[in-house]
């Protein structure tokens, strides 16, 4: 786990690109994080306001790549925070705190990287360090463009069959495990996908590391707001995760949020 410098700092944006349904932002930062760690981000100006007067708090983002003193973030415009970030221009600066939380651990056996939608972000960073098949599920071909971030061509499914096979990414995972189950699964994606991965790995007795999400206010353990239930009680996703052993969870579904 890489420690974060204390406090937030301003990081200059050097590039903003659209990648299918997503946006990629590159910022300058000298601190090298580990895959699976994350940052709290906010823009320097115009964070908040508008019709809903939000966002107010910073938002959590995994780095999708960290190299040469630059961090790359990948995100989808799903609400006021990501909407403002999607409008960021080169030369602006972002408030950044991190790297935060604990990242992925080393694999036992071969590594299988399993991602769904925007959940591919931390897996891109992981694929820079760890070799192994990358299995991805996306809603549409437009979202699937994010697959181009990986060094080698991943195996793909889409919900609507507009690219790769039509289906769920757990089908790809099942096939890989049928072939060779001496593996560690690294997964990130929506709760329903993570839960399917968790259940499948539990069934096959395959270790899995899941990168969880949760609504966060602080990202460094201060607020106790980001908890999820585990077999051992609530844990804070920001400091006890975001990567957790699947075996620690009863379910990867998030209670009360509709997901």
């Amino acid at each position: 786990m890489t420690l974060a410098p204390f406090g937030r700092r301003l990081a200059e944006v050097t590039a903003v690109e659209r990648l299918g349904a997503y946006t990629v932002i590159m910022v300058v930062d000298p601190h090298q994080p580990e895959p699976g760690q994350f940052y709290m981000l906010a823009t320097e100006t115009g964070w908040g306001g508008g019709a809903g007067e939000r966002p107010y708090l910073p938002r959590a983002f995994s780095h999708a790549r960290a190299a040469d003193g630059k961090l790359q973030f990948l995100f989808e415009d799903v609400g006021p925070g990501t909407h403002r970030l999607a409008a960021v221009e080169r030369g602006e600066s972002l408030w950044l705190t991190g790297p935060l939380g604990s990242g992925f651990g080393p694999p036992q056996g071969r590594a299988l990287l399993v991602g769904g939608g925007i959940g591919v972000a931390p897996l891109v960073a992981l694929s820079d360090d760890v070799d192994g098949p990358v299995l991805l599920g996306f809603r549409t071909a437009l979202h699937a463009e994010a697959a181009s971030l990986f060094p080698e061509q991943p195996k793909l499914v889409t919900d609507d069959g507009s690219m790769g096979r039509r289906g769920l990414v757990t089908e790809l995972l099942r096939e890989e495990l049928d072939e060779d189950a001496d593996a560690t699964v690294f997964a990130c994606g929506p709760p329903a996908m993570l839960e399917a991965v968790r259940a499948l790995c539990a069934e096959r007795d395959v270790p899995a590391q899941l990168a969880l999400e949760s609504g966060m206010a602080c990202g460094f353990g201060a607020c106790f707001g980001c908890v999820v239930p585990t077999r051992a009680g609530y844990i804070r996703v920001c400091v006890d995760g975001p990567v957790v052993e699947a075996a620690a969870l009863e379910t990867a579904l998030v209670p009360g949020t509709g997901h």
């Binding site: 410098p5 204390f6 406090g7 107010y56 705190t97 206010a217 201060a222 908890v227 998030v254």
Partner: protein, 297 residues
Amino acid sequence: MRGFDLSGLVLNGSGTFDAIAARRTFGDELLEQFPFDVFVSKTITAEPRQGNPPPRLWETPGGLINSIGLPNKGLDGFLAADLPQLAELPVPLCVSVMGFTRDELAKLVAAVDQREEVAMFELNVSCPNVETGLIMGADPSETARVMERVRPLTDKPVIVKLTPNATNPAEVAVAAEGAGADAVSLVNTLKGMAFRPGTSEPWLGAGTGGVSGPAVRAIALQQVAAVSKRAEIPVIGMGGIASGAGAQDFLAAGAECVAVGTESFRDPAAGSRIRRELRGLRPKLEVTYLERGTRSG
């Protein structure tokens, strides 16, 4: 305040900074650049608590609703696991305590009082009274009874943390003072709620929560001014402080010092920034509102 001078200090709001988790995140840089002049622990209770079911957070315009529900390791866990780590912080430690009954609270205070690492107490009286169902801290006489029970148990300074969800916080402050409190702090969070968008389900796992952040600052300022006018003991002002200018407003309203809560979530070093900004502004602030009084009362 019993030999402890609060004036112009910047504290953290209880429950808004976990110095132990922050040290895991930021390492010893946290100790070198510790952002607060006094560290206030998250509120502890006699028995361990898991806290409320998630979701526990909801963002509002310029604010946050939380329904954390006081998760903590309980008295024994605190003394064994947390206190030794908090004792390593470079500033005095204030332990925030809450009891669902006066006996429970007395037990807590008596036990924590033994530890010389602890410089002072804050009584969080925002809990519902188990007998009456009312919030202890909203009721002046109940607050006085709580304080009277605690007072003989410790010689350390005791701060009573007031709830803003009361018709007349100044009455409660005066009652706390009369019963021996050394200071009062306010505001705690304002009761609030939110619904899951597009549904009629409350978003928060606990149904309702407490609002903090800049959205409540004007309300907090008015309560701090009202309390400062009535109480002789020092007032610790908080509620939405996000800058030195905001902190200065609380001092102008009569507070002796301030605490920073939600702003630390946006900027972990907010305490230091606000202290720095405040020191830059203070020379300009000579007479407080308290000394001058209002124009129309």
